[in-house]
Point group: D2
Chain length 340, copies 4
């Protein structure tokens, strides 16, 4: 209920741009969207109408040149992220940018250097940290509720593979999907991974393999503090979106279950059943999208470090590179080998 | 995303008025609140500021006289509901009114007659029908998924009793609390109750007993179609809000569990535990408040009968009267005995 | 691993007689079955062969006259229980008798008087008290883990109705089925019921109604200490045997779930399901049959009062009589009205 | 209820010998133990008294020379298994032998050759295959209920580490603990593992590390059919014995939960909790010990191949060798490298 309102410009009116615009417009009264742009002008116009955004800018340049705007949200395609970060930083804007920043560490380092020089705030869109389950798991680890961790497992499976056209430009499974889990692993354990071993294959769709990508992966993480972790990824779980973690510590275990649309159980003459879990990220992570922007806006207003900084955007990319190298070379790979 | 917007006036800016105002302002773009009033003018002003409502009216009369307003939300105290419904109907407004309509069937009949005469739409605020769990249970019954029902149980317990000052004017536990469960029973089974037997007592706080009320009740419902149901009420469940139902049918059983803030389970050397369920109705039924207004607005816009009509507001009051009479006379009471 | 062995005679080689014989023979080395009898001599012979019982007696008289026998198990039909108890007591045998003792309180009082005169031990076969779930619930109540109880619910549903021939001689649903739940209610709360109200009907099979019995019942219990309880009975739950209780106390709630043959959950594209619960009492209560005899044998060997005494056998019969009277007269009935 | 009884001799009256002796004596009437021996004669005598075994033999030689004996159970220490198998085979006895057969594949091959030459039956004591959960998971895989498997996880954690004295002679964690999980992996997937990668460490007790062993391990299995599996082992889970598996297939997922001593849940003002799971293998796998012997005896009587053959005893030992080699050499190791 603060009367101070942050003035925001949005670059990108696609799926995730729309999520953020609606959140800012309808859920976060401490923000005000003043301008939006998209390479698809119609998409920008429709979203502007939907969310009462007064202006549709012709380009990101126009957004960055707008003196009224204090904060930009970068929701455009991945290949534009690094440059836009650098330009927005130079323009003195605080920045919220979707993940990944880029597929190469050089580009990321370039962008982060610009942010550092400009002294602006940057938050990367690892929204899952703000999910009620994962935030609670982190709390249990950080508070000592389960003692010193020793084993960690992340299950992260999509209900269906993305279109092949996306697979071909996404940077591959480790960059488009596991990237979230790499961030989650670091977030939950509160320590860095030093070595990665990947076992993976094509089990869902041979076309994904022909496109040079994988659809099923098991990644072993060795943390500096000795914790051993795994990430289980599949591009297709027929029962829906499967998002769970489990950590074993010296004082106990914490495990999460998926969220379900309701809490009903039906017992019949055949089985005892319930409805399928929430199907995909728009349903599953709805509230985390609100919480991440709330956290970002509060950080900007209170001039605090954001909850997910530039380096938090860099390391998962290094992990993705190491995971792929491990798969290609069939051996454990240290992050230092890929510049991590 | 319809461009047609309903113009709405709100009478009452207390707790539930605020819930509805925020829902209309931030979640339902097809509505536009044009005016609000409250006997506490400051409350109305604060809510108007919060929700960008352009006008704070001096009285309900001013709201009802406002030609721009097509719909009124009656969120004032119960003793004003019946008269306001009648007046709003005469003014040609469509009406959403909180429950109960009144404590007496005469008053209710007077209000409903006015609604009928005016031919306006009326929806009563039994929001729980729109909850994901209960809507799914109703679906299972209506679709035959569990066959023909024979036994039904409703558990409905508050985390803590209301203030004594409220208890003294609320109409008693059957009118302020069980009223929701009476509606739920009818809704789930899709049939009418013809007889009620009440076993009840004071187990939570003797002061509630001194005020002439009860805090713990078990109510047996006999439906016309032979289903036997129970409602279990307590004004205090230390673990939080407990809202469950279970129905046994010829083809199976459906049961609901509470909603929890997260889906984590921690196993330690002592116990296997999880966090407490969502504590009270503002957390538990958040989405149902949105869904009920969405349904109401759609009904008005599409000129359809509302999902919870005036008679749906009347019958639970008759059931509350019968439940109390059964307790007082220590015998099963037919609804026909109290005018139901 | 005591070397002292109790010498046991068994009267009745039907279903429950076989359960007890196998338990004594294979699970309880501190007992030795020396003789068995049954009106169906072949059944007795088969069971003797199965369990290495050295002697098949011609009659219960022969068992009672056998000087070597210290303990008799009465597993014959209900109409013989009271007389056999009295005769066994006169013969100086300790007695384990299946429930119910009789359908009339007079017969029960006659039998219990004989037991008292003889000073022998008597345990009634309310095995469910020894079930892991219900014993744990009792512990939670007795230890104060959930504070002072106020509401209690027992769900007790069979997977399928018994044969009509059995229904006609069983004494009716309250005597053949609810009798266990009446005992459970007293056991869990640790107090006596003073009033009962029954709502019941025929929902499963009209033939049961024609035989003068009911197949679906909801029984409200009012305990002397103010606790309100319910028993939910159905002769047919298509998903299997449903045996649960729930108690609300001032410090918390305890609830039980059914036991399942395995702990697997399968998630498919349609539902998330598990296999049906254990189907009926032979599977569900297997271990409780062992524990009740273990407890009985220990009580006899250590000359302690048994865990389920003669009066524990009498009161549930009075409750069954009151439940039926309540149904017949459509009003709450005090146990004192039926001699309870 | 067959009257044919197998005559059995038991070598070894330690913990597992006692489990099997009691199972045969009290649960499996189709068997008759005629003789038992142990290097600790007192242990053999006590168990003979407990289980009504008529003879305590002076040595395993005496057992093997006993013409009445058709079957021997080898429950002595691991270092004696291979020789005893060979000797028993030469003596024409059918053999049930505890796992592992030996720590070296040469010894195992020697024993299995003797079995083959003699044409006797051999079953290895991988009892978990007979557990209700794991048997059901296998059924789901074999029947196609979850489609073609792609990812498998086994969690297998002990409540507390064994004594250091045991760790020093046990062959190490992969041989004393993971051996069960190696068998489980092959059993569930129905295919062979061709490569293993191990990440492991000492997290529970430094003394275990000083003894040259590990206490925490994550083992990645690559099956010939492309399934990727993991085994998660810890020698200490403070909440008790943790024994779960999960398999993702093309048509669904199957996951198991632990077994609990009861099915109660208590909700208080602090948490919602239940009691700890069954603590260790004697409680958790009770019924599987019965089922494995039942299966073995039936196989012998019906002259069928046993459910867990000699090769099933050999392969997990090869897997243990590969797992250790992978840890030592910090790289994935093919089973063919260790003679598997």
């Amino acid at each position: 209920m603060s009367t101070q309102k942050l003035h925001i410009g949005i670059i990108g009116a696609g799926r995730i741009g729309r999520v953020h615009a609606e959140t800012l417009a309808f859920r976060l009264p401490e923000s005000q969207i003043v301008s939006i742009t998209d390479v698809n002008r119609e998409a920008a116009q429709a979203l502007a109408a939907r969310c009462n955004i007064p202006k549709v800018a012709a380009s990101s340049d126009e957004i960055l040149a707008d003196k009224q705007i204090e904060v930009v949200l970068i929701c455009s395609s991945t290949n534009t992220h690094a440059d836009l970060i650098a330009q927005a930083a130079k323009a003195g804007k605080h920045i919220f940018c979707e993940k990944p920043i880029a597929f190469s560490l050089e580009q990321i380092d370039h962008a982060l250097a610009a942010v550092k020089t400009a002294g602006v705030q940057l938050q990367i869109g690892f929204n899952r940290r703000f999910d009620a389950n994962f935030a609670r798991v982190r709390q249990a680890v950080a508070s000592g509720e389960i003692g010193t961790p020793s084993l960690m497992h992340i299950i992260s499976r999509d209900p269906a593979p993305p279109p092949l056209s996306y697979v071909k430009v996404s940077g591959g499974i480790f960059m488009d999907m596991t990237i979230h889990d790499f961030d989650m692993a670091r977030f939950l354990i509160g320590d860095e991974v030093e070595e990665i071993y990947t076992a993976a294959g094509v089990r869902v769709d041979p076309e994904i393999g022909k496109a040079g990508d994988l659809d099923t992966a098991l990644i072993v993480l060795r943390f500096r503090n000795g914790v051993i972790g795994t990430i289980d990824n599949s591009r297709k779980a027929v029962y829906g979106y499967d998002q769970r973690v489990e950590i074993l510590g010296s004082k106990g275990k914490i495990a999460t279950e998926n969220f379900y649309p309701n809490q009903i159980v039906i017992s019949t003459g055949d089985t005892v059943y319930k409805d399928l879990p929430l199907n995909f990220f728009m349903d599953r992570y709805t509230e985390s999208f609100v919480a991440e922007l709330q956290s970002f806006i509060a950080a900007v207003l209170e001039k605090r470090t954001t909850a997910v900084t530039g380096i938090d955007g860099r390391i998962p990319v290094a992990m993705a590179l190491a995971a792929r190298k491990s798969y290609d070379e069939h051996r454990p790979v240290r992050l230092s080998e890929v510049g991590g």
